[in-house]
């Protein structure tokens, strides 16, 4: 039986491809769910694209894991195509445009609605309630679109509050801030300037991607990205969140714009140039490699960002099946295998990330990495970005809007209202 025909025109795809090239959009085409295909079990040659396992040690691990998969599924070969997250969009776009989508695609949180809407992804057929026995229910939601399950999580990553116990302790502070108001007060106290030059930021909010810093703060203030499918990131709560960030930089002078950036070789927190930070759980690896004494002395820990409610940003890598896969059943088996108790913890450890499966919560790895351990314990407070099919295009509009507020070119309210208008225009164009 030939593969189902695509409902999306090639011209449409080329346009989307160009957007993908600028990092602003994605492209897709599709067909019915894989379950509708006649292909059953038996032999198959599956093509899989993965932005994790891309380093030599990761490739070696995946080869070992796939050998186990093949042993359990004789006749099923898997050809992995390794790429980085930076070029995943281009690889996916060209493969789909070329009519040869990968059977199994490992993609990020936030990519599911766009791909599912375009019909690229096949319904995995597992109810969310069933998955919630294996994964935290909040994590499962990232793979759901319009009530159907399109993805299963493998590894997660979080953005959370991180603090240096030694620096807080030296200032007579014995516990991390319980909410964002206290965080700001503490940060003011911990900020050190010499002759007007910032020596130590009370809190570093600039080493992390600005959008991924703003979102957990917004969620903590009680805001949402979308409500009823409409942009809600210009709500009063969201404006309060951005005002909080603006205060850190402009009003309270806790951190100067340019003090750090996402491309900094080392985070100020690692260098002792910041007392607290909103950052990636992966910072733990930097501590281990660059300042092992911090790990040895138990000088670093995480805290939840809270105000109206506790919040933590959660991203991750999810396994999906192409709607047009010629081997849907085998592809689904591979997705189940990759997101299983057997594989997910190893994948997470290889990248310094968080295993998605609940069963790994007490593993040696989770216990040894304090930030991963903290994130696992607080997954109930996790929020994921995305939620609308146009998210990949909308998300790129955040940084300039947030920057304009942080640089004082506009007010937080105007910055977010302008951002919401842009988002509405993108959504209207695509509808």
């Amino acid at each position: 039986m030939p593969p189902p025909s695509s409902p999306l025109s090639r011209r449409r795809f080329l346009g989307l491809g160009a957007a993908a090239a600028s990092g602003a959009a994605l492209a897709a085409c599709g067909g019915p769910a894989p379950g509708s295909s006649t292909s059953g079990g038996g032999s198959a040659s599956l093509r899989m694209i993965t932005p994790i396992f891309d380093r030599a040690d990761g490739q070696k691990l995946l080869e070992t894991l796939l050998a186990q998969f093949k042993k359990a599924n004789p006749g099923v070969d898997v050809q992995p195509d390794y790429t980085s997250y930076g070029k995943l969009n281009e690889k996916l776009t060209t493969s789909i445009v070329g009519g040869q989508p990968y059977d199994v695609m490992l993609i990020g949180v936030g990519w599911i609605p766009p791909f599912a809407k375009k019909g690229v992804l096949g319904d995995l057929g597992t109810p969310a309630a069933d998955l919630s026995r294996t994964y935290n229910p909040r994590v499962v939601q990232a793979g759901i679109w319009e009530g159907k399950t399109y993805a299963r999580p493998i590894v997660l990553d979080t953005r959370l509050g991180i603090y240096r116990k030694d620096i807080l302790s030296a200032a007579g502070i014995t516990a991390p801030p319980k909410d964002l108001a206290e965080l700001k007060d503490m940060a003011k106290q911990l900020t050190v300037r010499k002759g007007g030059t910032l020596q130590r930021a009370g809190v570093d909010i600039l080493s992390n991607d600005l959008r991924q810093t703003f979102l957990p703060i917004m969620w903590a203030f009680g805001g949402d990205l979308f409500r009823d499918g409409k942009p809600a990131f210009d709500s009063p709560e969201a404006i309060d969140a951005l005002q909080w960030m603006v205060d850190i930089v402009r009003t309270d002078k806790i951190e100067d714009y340019g003090f750090s950036s996402t491309s900094a070789v080392a985070a100020p927190l690692t260098q002792g140039r910041a007392a607290m930070a909103i950052g990636h759980n992966d910072l733990w690896r930097q501590f281990e490699e660059a300042k092992p004494e911090l790990v040895k002395d138990d000088a670093v820990a995480g805290f939840t960002l809270a105000q109206a409610r506790p919040a933590m940003f959660q991203g991750g890598t999810l396994a999906t099946v192409a709607a047009r896969s010629r081997y849907p059943q085998q592809a689904r088996k591979l997705v189940e295998f990759l997101s299983s108790d057997q594989v997910a913890p190893q994948a997470a450890q290889q990248r310094g990330n968080i295993p998605a499966v609940l069963s790994a919560a007490n593993s040696d790895y989770v216990r040894s990495d304090k930030l991963v351990g903290f994130a696992v314990q607080n997954l109930d407070h996790a929020f994921s970005e995305g939620g609308v099919p146009q998210w990949l295009e909308i998300r790129d509009q955040f940084k300039p809007a947030l920057e304009s507020a942080l640089l004082g070119r506009t007010t937080p309210a105007k910055a977010l209202q302008g951002l919401a208008e842009k988002a509405k225009a993108i959504m209207a164009k695509d509808s």
């Binding site: 090239a21 891309d54 380093r55 050809q79 281009e90 040869q100 070789v265 140039r273 990248r351």
Partner: protein, 302 residues
């Protein structure tokens, strides 16, 4: 001693002093520019032997506190760099050889062979230089996939994968560049017509005139095109990444990207890998720099 001869001597010395001052100023400027050019390379090499602790130190140290040469061997273990380097070399050499042959022929034809529509054709060649690489990726991918009779395709380019994940797909799309055609044309235009007329009177064929008379006189163009093509091909990342799926056909730049992750970069290993990847280009430039500079000067390109 009278004042007159002294003044005369001073006047005589003035141009000499002024010339020396001008040269001094020129050398100072060149020194600053050279330093600005070389600092990133020095920084790259020094970073490549630093430890994570060194990298995280603040203020940063110029020289490593502990010289960790093992970064190079560790970097090599991140990916199969031997295979990747070989692949890059094969592709870069193929691109260079094909571009030299094809672009010099095209440039010669556009410069020295009168035919109807020559200028329009040349403008069309120039126009292709204006198309951004990213906008060509998807169409190029579709052409490679739909190549008839390759990779299981039928005569209409259907049913298989064409040139995808093949050496054809890696080499052919970059084998001829419009810039090389333009450069060769400019050089052939600068040669005196008497040379080809004399050769023609002596009964030499058009191909003989191109190959044995004119082309040996454009060595700077050959060196320039060779170096630029090799450099561009050696550094190509996106197309080899997209057109290949098998690890055994990946290139060096794809290997280097394994040091860059969305969360954190392995800076020391990235710099070690980049240093190793840069060496062939530096060696090539050292051998061809005289022709290279001459080539750019003659073509009027800055």
């Amino acid at each position: 001693m009278s004042a007159e001869p002294l003044a005369a001597r001073t006047r005589a010395r003035d141009p000499l002093v002024a010339r020396r001052l001008r040269r001094l100023a020129l050398h100072l400027v060149l020194l600053v520019v050279s330093l600005a050019m070389v600092v990133p390379f020095v920084w790259m090499i020094l970073t490549s032997v630093k430890t994570e602790g060194d990298l995280a130190s603040y203020p940063p140290h110029l020289l490593p506190q502990h010289w960790r040469w093992s970064n190079y061997s560790t970097a090599l273990s991140y990916a199969p760099f031997g295979q990747y380097s070989l692949n890059s070399a094969v592709i870069a050499v193929s691109h260079t050889a094909l571009n030299l042959v094809l672009a010099s022929m095209a440039g010669y034809a556009l410069a020295r062979v009168p035919f109807r529509g020559r200028n329009v054709l040349f403008l069309a060649v120039l126009a292709t230089m204006m198309i951004p690489t990213y906008s060509k990726i998807v169409p190029q991918y579709l052409i490679a996939k739909g190549m008839p009779f390759f990779g299981g395709n039928d005569y209409l380019g259907r049913g298989g994968h064409g040139w995808l994940d093949s050496w054809w797909g890696l080499i052919v799309p970059g084998a001829l560049t419009p810039f090389a055609i333009f450069l060769f044309r400019q050089f052939y235009l600068s040669l005196p017509t008497e040379l080809e007329e004399a050769a023609r009177i002596d009964g030499m064929s058009e191909f003989g005139i191109y190959a044995r008379v004119m082309t040996p006189l454009v060595k700077p163009a050959i060196a320039t095109v060779a170096l630029l093509t090799f450099e561009s091909s050696w550094n190509n990342f996106l197309w080899p990444l997209i057109v290949t799926t098998s690890p055994d056909k990946r290139v060096l730049q794809v290997g280097l990207s394994s040091f860059q992750q969305s969360d954190q970069n392995a800076w020391a290993y990235l710099m070690a890998g980049t240093t190793m990847a840069t060496i062939p280009m530096v060696v090539l430039f050292l051998f061809t720099q005289r022709y290279f500079v001459q080539g750019f000067a003659n073509a009027g390109i800055k």
